[in-house]
Each structure stands twice: as structure tokens, then as C-alpha cells.
């Protein structure tokens, strides 16, 4: 394994460019390797029959022998018969083995470790060095928050969601003056109003109250709106069942109750089951727009930003300061096209206009 | 002249040994007794005649054929039998068996399965007595086979130069397992070797317990008086094979018959001045005691294998 000028001790054998036993002329590229910075081809320096010693994907120290070129067929046969085609894995000392287990690695991981003990034996210090090199030092300190429990579940779900649904976000800026009035008059929260309006809008846009299942779009009969709640362990989304049938006040009370339970860690599985659409009020923080991630198997999520006064051009052409909000609708393009999404947002804006009364 | 009481006591001791051994031989054939047993039958006069001069403070060491010495030294029959049966209530908690039977509380420092193994030990016990300035005596019992062991000669020499209170009793029954003393020993009388060490060598007749008693008495008295060791050879008779189960092919029927004619017990019985019914009641008593001993042994449990390492070191 040649040194290519890059200062790495180990290099990855990416692929063999010839077959085992193939006859090559000097100068022929026989393998491809990868360093941290680059990939490169390695040529055979002599002609003959190639006997591979190292399997693809293995990290090899610079200077290690990765193949032998036999001058004759006979010599090749001898090589191929005597030597094992794949190099014996180096021995792992008991202490190193125990340390691997303690650090949460599998014994198989030893295959990636270079041993500095006699005969290439992998010692405890080799395991320590390898483990330290894998995890980059966190900036500024030693704090590590394990991806376990709720955090781990969220992490898993988010990645799964992004990998499954074809999701994208459309944004509509809405003048929420009536919503603000209604909030003041009814002593209800913004979230409750938006949940009610979104639920009403979903009646007209059933595609957004659906899920993609087994190669089909399943339109769901009930409108159960999940409401995102921030807790110390991460976000949870308790469900307001049949939100379209409840009054804003009822929804508000329900949200208050569920949020309190969520923060106490007292939500039951029933509380978080059956959601068909999610509303997330990101505006409790100073954020305007977010491309939120769908909560699978839901096809739609309405994320609203902060309400703030913005200059708005009125019908008569003058500019006034009005409370506005960005309504960000994330949708699954497998079921919903841009037009559907835009239509939903339009309905929502219209409903906002009527909510003051 | 040995008084009637003493004679009766000697008779009782010998008969106890005889009946105990006969019972052991019988029970051994059922397979209930593990390992090996070596019967003292025919040699009772030696143990009885010598140990009659000893008390609990005196020491004896013995051979693989040690039941007789144990009984003559006053050991409990039940505890002895339990040891032979390998039970927890045995003298040695079942750890030793017949060949290592011992009772340190009575100065019985053990039967020894190494031929001659007890000789240096008895010498040491005599040394302890000498250092302490007590009048305790040690007796080493050994056979004609051990008469040729090096350690006997080292011990006789050591006891002689230090004038130790030890009596070395050679029970010459003419055979070391199958090898006759006539073949193995360079001289006809082991006692003759005493001269080589400058100590008295005495011969006694093992078919006559009173002869043994007298000779032993003199030797023990010498020792207690600080005059040093004696080598006492008793010509005796081993009625059974070397061990129970020994086909005894090195002797013929005539020889065995002749041997058994030298019975110290019957010859003493004939001379005793005691009444028949007294003798009969002694016999019955011993019979009962031996039976009781067997019952006691059978009722005692085997030691627990969880205690394999117990007693390896003194506590």
C-alpha cells in the first residue's frame, strides 16, 4: 500500500480493479484506494497473476502488503493454495476485548483497529485511541447527551420521516389582525385559534388530512389535530380529537390541559395517538419561518411563526403596520401537490379574516 | 508373678481386640466398609502386654495394622468403628479410616500407612518428654518389614545418643505382606540389632501375653527412669492374610494351622483363676460393646463433600 503524500497511517482499500488470479501487465491499475482526502488507483509494478490478500473495505496501514503478483501460473496456484486469500485478523488482547465491550462496541469493530502490540496484537491503548478518534471532540467541552429515550426516539423519527416522505414547505404571510382581536376578546391562545381554523380548512382539503399507506393515499375520516408541545425531554404532540367539531374555547382548554400534562410527563399513549395533522406554534420563539418535518404517517403539518407588526400594503395602496404571521405548510408531495397546499393556505387565510367576528 | 486382676485385665483387652477385629472382618465382606483393613488377629498379646504399662499421657505410634494398639490404649470402640466405616463421628471424622486411626487425647499418635512411618514420630514424642523433663514414655510399634527401613536405624541411634524414653516394639509375625522375614532380614532376630546401637535388645513370646507384659514392663521402667531406649522384639502370629481379602497364597494350610495354634487368648484363658461365668459375662459384655459400636458407626453420617478442605491446616 503506497504512501500517496497524504499523511494518513491507514488507507481504505476501496475496490479491486482486477479479478483474483487475473493476469496483468506491469503498469495496469489493479486496485483503488481511498484516503481521507482523495481516491487513487494503484498500478502493478510487475506482470503476472494477481493474488489478493486483503478484502475490499478494509483499512490497511501504509506499507502493508495487499497483493502478490506471481510470475507463473504454477507459482500463483501455490500462493493461492498455501496462503489464505484473506489475511488473518490480528489477535485482540483480552483486556482490549473487555474494553471494547465496556465502550459499547462490538468485537467485530476490532477489525478496524490497528494493533501496536507484538505481532500486531490489539491492546487496550489501541482501542482507546481508536474510540477517541471516532468521536470528534465536542467544541468547548466534554458534554455528551446520549441519543436515548425520548431524544433518541425523536432523532429516529425525524430521520425516518425525511427519508420516507417527499416533503417540502410552502409559506404564506397572513394578516392576523382579526386573530389577534379574537384572542384578546375570547381570552384564548393563538394555537387554539389556529387549530380550529386549520381543522375547518381540512374539511375542504381532505388530501391534507391523509396518509400514504401501502402504495395508496388514504383519506382519513376524522380530523384529529396534534399540537406540538415543547418539554425538557423534547417535543411531544398530544392530539385534539375531532378538532373540527370543538369550539375554540374547548380547544384552548384542552390544549392547556394536555400541555400541562406533557410538561409533567403524564401523557398517556392515548393522548398522543390518532393524530391526522399537526399544528406547531413556533411563534412562541422569535422565529418567522421554519420548514418543519412531518410527523409520519401524517401528510401535513402547519407551522406558524411569530406574530409581529410588519408593513403591509393596503387595498388603497397605503402602507400600514399590521400584525402578520408566516403560515408554513409542510406537505408530503407523494399525496399533495403545490396547488393543493396553496389552496389550503388560501382557505386558512380566508378563515383568519372571518375569525374576529 | 502377675496378679489375677492384671491377668484378667490383659485377657479382657485381648478379647476385646479379637472380637472387634472378627466383627470388622465380617462386616468388611458386606462391602459396607470402604478401602482396606488389616487384621490384628493373633497379635493381641503384643498390644495388650505393652500398653498395660501406659496411661493417657504416654504416646504410641502404630502401623497399618493399628486397631489393636488403639483398643489397648483405651480408645472408644464406637468412635473407632465409625472411623473404620468412614463416618463423621469417627475418631478422625472419617478423614483417615483404618490406616490412619488415631486418638491424640489418649496419646495414640496414629496408625501409619507408611511402613516404619511411626518410628521417628515416637522418637520425637520421646524427645518432647525428655526436653520437658516429664516421665512420659513413647512406644513405637512396627513390624518385621520395618526392621529394614533406614528410619528405624536413624531413630535407634538418635534415641540412644540422647537416651530418649522410647520403647521400640517390633511385632515380628514372620511376614512383610508376602515376604518372609527369614528372607528379607539379614539376621534371625531383629532384637540382635540393638547391640549395634548400644541399647538392650529383648525377645518376648507373643503367644504368651504374660511374657510380653514382663518384658515390656522392664523396658518402660527403664525409659521412665531416664535410662534410655529398648528394642523389644515380640515373636507373634498373624492369623489372617496381610489385608482382608488377601488370598494368602504365600502360606499353605499347614502353616496357617500351625500359626493359629499359637493363640495367646486361649492359652491365657486356660490359666486364668476366674470363674467360668465371670469369663462368660466378660465375653458377653464385649460382644455387646462391639455390636453397639457397629450400630453407632452405621448411624453416623458420611462427612459432607463441601468440607473437603477442612482440617488441612490446624485451626
Amino acid at each position: 500500500m503506497p504512501k500517496l503524500g497524504a499523511y494518513t497511517d491507514d488507507v481504505l482499500l476501496l475496490q479491486w480493479l482486477v479479478d483474483e488470479g487475473e493476469q496483468v501487465d506491469a503498469g495496469r491499475a489493479i486496485l483503488e484506494l481511498e484516503t481521507e482526502k482523495t481516491t487513487a488507483e494503484v498500478e502493478s509494478e510487475s506482470s503476472g497473476f494477481v493474488h489478493q490478500l486483503v478484502p475490499v473495505g478494509e483499512a490497511v496501514p501504509i506499507g502493508a502488503t495487499v497483493a502478490l503478483i506471481a510470475e507463473t501460473q504454477e507459482e500463483y496456484r501455490r500462493l493461492a493454495d498455501d496462503a489464505p486469500a484473506v489475511r488473518e485478523p490480528p489477535p485482540v488482547a483480552p483486556r482490549a476485548r473487555a474494553l471494547l465491550k465496556e465502550l459499547g462496541f462490538a468485537l467485530d469493530d476490532a477489525a478496524h483497529i490497528t494493533g501496536t502490540g507484538p505481532g500486531g496484537r490489539i491492546l487496550d491503548r489501541d482501542v482507546t485511541a481508536w474510540a477517541a478518534a471516532r468521536t470528534p471532540e465536542p467544541l468547548g467541552g466534554d458534554e455528551r447527551i446520549p441519543l436515548r429515550g425520548r431524544r433518541g426516539a425523536i432523532a429516529k423519527r425525524m430521520v425516518e420521516s425525511l427519508q420516507t416522505a417527499a416533503q417540502l414547505t410552502s409559506v404564506l404571510e397572513i394578516d392576523v389582525t382579526p386573530l389577534v382581536e379574537r384572542r384578546a376578546r375570547s381570552h384564548v391562545g393563538v394555537t387554539a385559534i389556529v387549530v380550529k381554523l386549520a381543522a375547518a380548512a381540512l374539511r375542504d382539503h381532505p388530501r391534507l388530512n391523509a396518509r400514504v399507506d401501502g402504495g395508496a393515499i388514504e383519506l382519513l375520516p376524522e380530523i384529529n389535530v396534534a399540537v406540538a408541545v415543547d418539554t425538557e425531554e423534547g417535543v411531544v404532540a398530544p392530539v385534539i380529537a375531532a378538532a373540527d367539531e370543538l369550539s375554540i374555547e374547548a380547544i384552548d382548554a384542552r390544549i392547556t390541559e394536555l400541555a400541562a400534562r406533557a410538561r409533567d410527563g403524564a401523557l398517556t399513549p392515548d393522548d398522543v395517538a390518532g393524530g391526522t395533522f399537526t399544528v406547531s406554534n413556533g411563534g412562541v420563539h422569535p422565529v418567522d419561518i421554519t420548514t418543519a418535518i412531518l410527523d409520519p404517517p401524517q401528510c401535513g403539518l402547519l407551522w406558524i411563526g411569530r406574530i409581529r407588526d410588519r408593513p403591509v400594503v393596503l387595498a388603497d395602496g397605503t402602507i400600514a403596520a399590521r400584525p402578520t404571521m408566516q403560515a408554513c405548510l409542510t406537505f408530503d408531495h407523494r399525496a399533495i401537490d403545490g396547488g393543493h397546499a396553496a389552496a389550503f393556505l388560501g382557505t386558512l387565510a380566508a378563515l383568519v379574516g372571518e375569525v374576529g367576528s | 508373678m502377675i496378679d489375677g486382676q492384671t491377668q484378667l485385665a490383659l485377657y479382657r483387652t485381648m478379647l476385646t481386640i479379637r472380637m472387634f477385629e472378627q466383627r470388622v472382618a465380617r462386616e468388611f465382606r458386606t462391602g459396607e466398609i470402604p478401602g482396606f483393613v488389616h487384621m490384628y488377629i493373633g497379635e493381641e498379646a503384643v498390644a495388650a502386654g505393652v500398653c498395660a504399662h501406659l496411661d493417657d499421657g504416654d504416646y504410641v505410634t502404630s502401623t497399618h495394622r493399628g486397631h489393636g494398639h488403639c483398643i489397648a490404649k483405651g480408645c472408644d470402640l464406637g468412635a473407632m468403628m465409625a472411623e473404620i466405616y468412614g463416618r463423621e463421628d469417627g475418631l478422625c471424622k472419617g478423614r483417615g479410616g483404618s490406616m490412619h486411626i488415631a486418638d491424640f487425647s489418649r496419646g495414640m499418635l496414629g496408625a501409619n500407612a507408611i511402613v516404619g512411618g511411626g518410628i521417628a514420630l515416637a522418637t520425637g514424642a520421646g524427645l518432647a518428654s525428655s526436653v520437658r523433663g516429664s516421665n512420659q514414655v513413647a512406644v513405637a510399634f512396627f513390624g518385621d518389614g520395618a526392621a529394614n527401613q533406614g528410619v528405624l536405624h536413624e531413630s535407634l541411634n538418635l534415641a540412644a545418643i540422647w537416651k530418649l524414653p522410647v520403647v521400640y516394639v517390633c511385632e515380628n509375625n514372620g511376614f512383610a505382606e508376602s515376604t518372609p522375614a527369614a528372607y528379607a532380614t539379614s539376621v534371625p532376630d531383629v532384637a540382635g540389632r540393638a547391640a549395634a546401637y548400644g541399647i538392650p535388645g529383648v525377645i518376648a513370646d507373643g503367644a504368651d501375653v504374660l511374657d510380653v507384659y514382663e518384658a515390656a514392663g522392664a523396658a518402660v521402667a527403664r525409659a521412665r527412669a531416664g535410662e534410655g531406649p529398648t528394642l523389644l522384639e515380640v515373636k507373634t502370629y498373624r492369623f489372617m492374610g496381610h489385608f482382608e481379602g488377601d488370598p494368602d497364597r504365600y502360606r499353605d494350610d499347614d502353616e496357617r494351622r500351625t500359626t493359629r495354634e499359637h493363640d495367646a487368648i486361649t492359652s491365657l484363658r486356660a490359666r486364668l483363676e476366674a470363674a467360668e461365668d465371670e469369663l462368660a459375662s466378660i465375653e458377653a459384655e464385649i460382644e455387646a460393646a462391639v455390636s453397639q459400636a457397629v450400630d453407632f458407626a452405621r448411624a453416623s453420617p458420611f462427612p459432607d463433600s463441601a468440607e473437603l478442605e477442612r482440617y488441612v491446616y490446624p485451626l
Binding site: R95 | C92, G96, A120, L121, G126, R132, V151
Partner: protein, 340 residues
């Protein structure tokens, strides 16, 4: 204000002698027997106590305790070692000087079949407070039959205890403990260490049997060494320190009972073990330590346990061979090197 008295320095042989004297002062049951333990026996006052033992350990005892308790013996090891066993069984506390370890062969039945087994065979009836002292070790040109170590053979026998001190301080404390132990103890004194000097407190003191001494703390490798090998291991540790390896040196002090806990704790820390034993390797104490550590601390080991021993041969006479017999300091350093 109290000022600690300066500890005076004694040679190992004198420390051993002092232990015996103090034991005999404390307990009238303690006696000494062996060849030439006084010397000039029976030749009259001026010529008696001419030797005080082959190496001078028992010098001074005869004048204090007389011929009753300090007894020269004829050359009859089976006889006088056996007498020691019997005297112990009968209530004395004898110290038998068998002179050279190799001579115990003559008394092997007394030690093995009698002394070591008596407590067990007799179901706990026997107290056998016997101490047998021997000299061992190569380096004096004493040749094959006067140089063997042999402690492995006795360590193998249940019922015996085997003591191998390496300093005058340890020798005195361990010998006093051995004498007052109620079972048979084999006490091995190394010929080359007899003249070694070290601090020894004047008053009697005891060191328990079965407790190792960590002579030097370290973190990279554990070196266990026996008797005269301890000093070589310490020297090796110095050389290793100079090249950046920190060695922990442990003196087990007794090989039966063996303080395995201390050795295992050390190996758990260092991950590497070298055992230095001036004996042929087969069934040696080094082998026992290696096997026991492999069983109890396998997952702590970075590599195999290395035994550094004498060759599989008796001790040779000629210096060119004898000087190469016992493990050298370099051999210990090299052994550590193979584990790096």
C-alpha cells in the same frame, strides 16, 4: 516529645537468629535441632557452640538455652526431621534446621506423608507447630546438590506453608510468625541474601503469612519476584523507568499461602505480568501464578503472562554456567519488552 529510635541494621542471617532467640525466650516449648546448630557437641565448653549453624544463624542460642533445647543431631535427616514432627505432635514447638533445601529429600516422607498430612488425616486432632529452616539458591559454586530452590515442590503439598523472605526485616517477622503457627512451615533462606543488610526492629514482631509486599509501585507492568530475585526485579524496574516504563514490583513473601489478591489487583491496574523465579520452569511457582492470574484476571491482560525462570537443569558448578543460571536483570527487562 518522643523521638523514634533509629532502626538498627542487621544481616538476614542475624535477623533469623534473633527471631529464634526471641521465640525461645518467649516459649520454653521452642527447641532447635539440626546438624551443627551449635557445633562441637559433647567436646566440652570451650569447643561447643563452635559453629552456630552452617551459616551462623543459630550462633548464640546454645550459650543461652543449653544442650536440652539446642541439639546437634547426627547426620540422619529422616530421623531428626521425623523426631521434630513427633515432638511437635507431642506438644513442643521445634525448629529443625535441615541445612540445605536439597537435603530435605532425605526426609521427604517425614515432611510429606507425616507432617503435611497429619492434621487432615486425623480429622483436626493434630497440632503440628513445626518449622523446618533450609538454605537455598545458586551463586556460591555449591553445585547441583547444594543449590536447589525446591519451594515449588513444598508449595504443592496441602498442609504445609512455605515462606520465602527477601529482606532481613521480613525474615525476622515471618520466622516468628512461622514458629508460632500451629502447622508445619517450610522456611526458605536464600544463601546470597544471608549477608544482605537492612533495618530490623529490635523488639519481636510478626508478619502474617500469605500477605505480599508491593516493593515498588508502578502502572505499566507487574513484576512478581521470589526471594533473591526481588532485588533483581527492582533493578530491572529502575532500568525500565529510565526508558519510560513504570514497573510495579511485588514480593509475595510466602508461596503457600499465596497472596493472589494483591497480584490480581496489580494486574488489573497494569495489564501485564512478568514472574521471576529462580527455579526450573516446569510446575514452578511462576507457573502457578501465571495460571491463577489467567483464571482470575484474564480480561485485564494485554498479553500472556511471562515467566522468567532458570533453565530446565540442575544448578551447574562452573561460574560461566552458574552465573547464567538464575534470571538476570536484563532477562527481566527483556521479558517486559516482549509485552510492549
Amino acid at each position: 516529645m518522643t523521638v523514634a529510635a533509629p532502626t538498627r541494621v542487621l544481616s538476614l542471617v542475624d535477623a533469623v537468629g534473633e527471631a529464634m532467640r526471641q521465640a525461645m525466650e518467649a516459649d520454653p516449648a521452642v527447641i532447635v535441632l539440626g546438624e551443627d546448630v551449635a557445633g562441637g557437641a559433647g567436646r566440652g565448653e570451650e569447643k561447643e557452640n563452635a559453629m552456630g549453624g552452617s551459616f551462623g544463624a543459630t550462633k548464640g542460642l546454645f550459650p543461652l538455652f543449653g544442650p536440652n533445647r539446642v541439639r546437634d543431631t547426627p547426620i540422619s535427616e529422616a530421623g531428626f526431621v521425623g523426631a521434630g514432627v513427633g515432638a511437635a505432635a507431642a506438644g513442643l514447638r521445634p525448629i529443625v534446621d535441615a541445612m540445605w533445601a536439597d537435603f530435605t529429600g532425605l526426609a521427604f516422607d517425614q515432611i510429606y506423608n507425616q507432617a503435611s498430612k497429619m492434621s487432615f488425616m486425623f480429622g483436626g486432632q493434630a497440632r503440628l507447630p513445626l518449622t523446618i529452616r533450609v538454605a537455598m539458591g545458586s551463586g556460591l559454586g555449591a553445585a547441583a546438590q547444594h543449590s536447589g530452590t525446591l519451594y515449588a515442590i513444598y508449595a504443592h503439598l496441602p498442609g504445609l506453608k512455605v515462606v520465602v523472605p527477601s529482606t532481613p526485616h521480613d525474615a525476622k517477622g515471618l520466622l516468628l510468625e512461622s514458629i508460632f503457627d500451629d502447622g508445619p512451615v517450610m522456611f526458605f533462606e536464600h544463601l546470597k541474601l544471608y549477608v544482605a543488610k537492612g533495618p530490623v526492629p529490635e523488639e519481636p514482631y510478626r508478619i502474617p503469612l500469605g500477605v505480599a509486599d508491593v516493593r515498588r509501585a508502578g502502572s505499566d507492568v507487574t513484576i512478581v519476584a521470589i526471594s533473591a530475585m526481588v532485588d533483581r526485579a527492582l533493578e530491572a524496574a529502575e532500568r525500565l523507568a529510565a526508558s519510560g516504563t513504570s514497573a510495579e514490583v511485588i514480593d509475595p513473601r510466602t508461596v503457600s499461602p499465596l497472596d493472589l489478591d494483591t497480584i490480581v489487583a496489580s494486574v488489573e491496574k497494569t495489564g501485564a505480568l512478568v514472574v521471576v523465579d529462580e527455579s526450573p520452569p516446569h510446575c514452578s511457582v511462576a507457573s502457578e501464578i501465571a495460571a491463577a492470574v489467567s483464571e482470575h484476571a484474564f480480561d485485564s491482560l494485554n498479553g500472556p503472562v511471562r515467566r522468567v525462570t532458570a533453565p530446565h537443569a540442575p544448578v551447574p558448578f562452573t561460574p560461566s554456567l552458574e552465573n547464567a543460571y538464575a534470571p538476570s536483570v536484563q532477562a527481566i527487562v527483556d521479558a517486559v519488552g516482549t509485552l510492549a
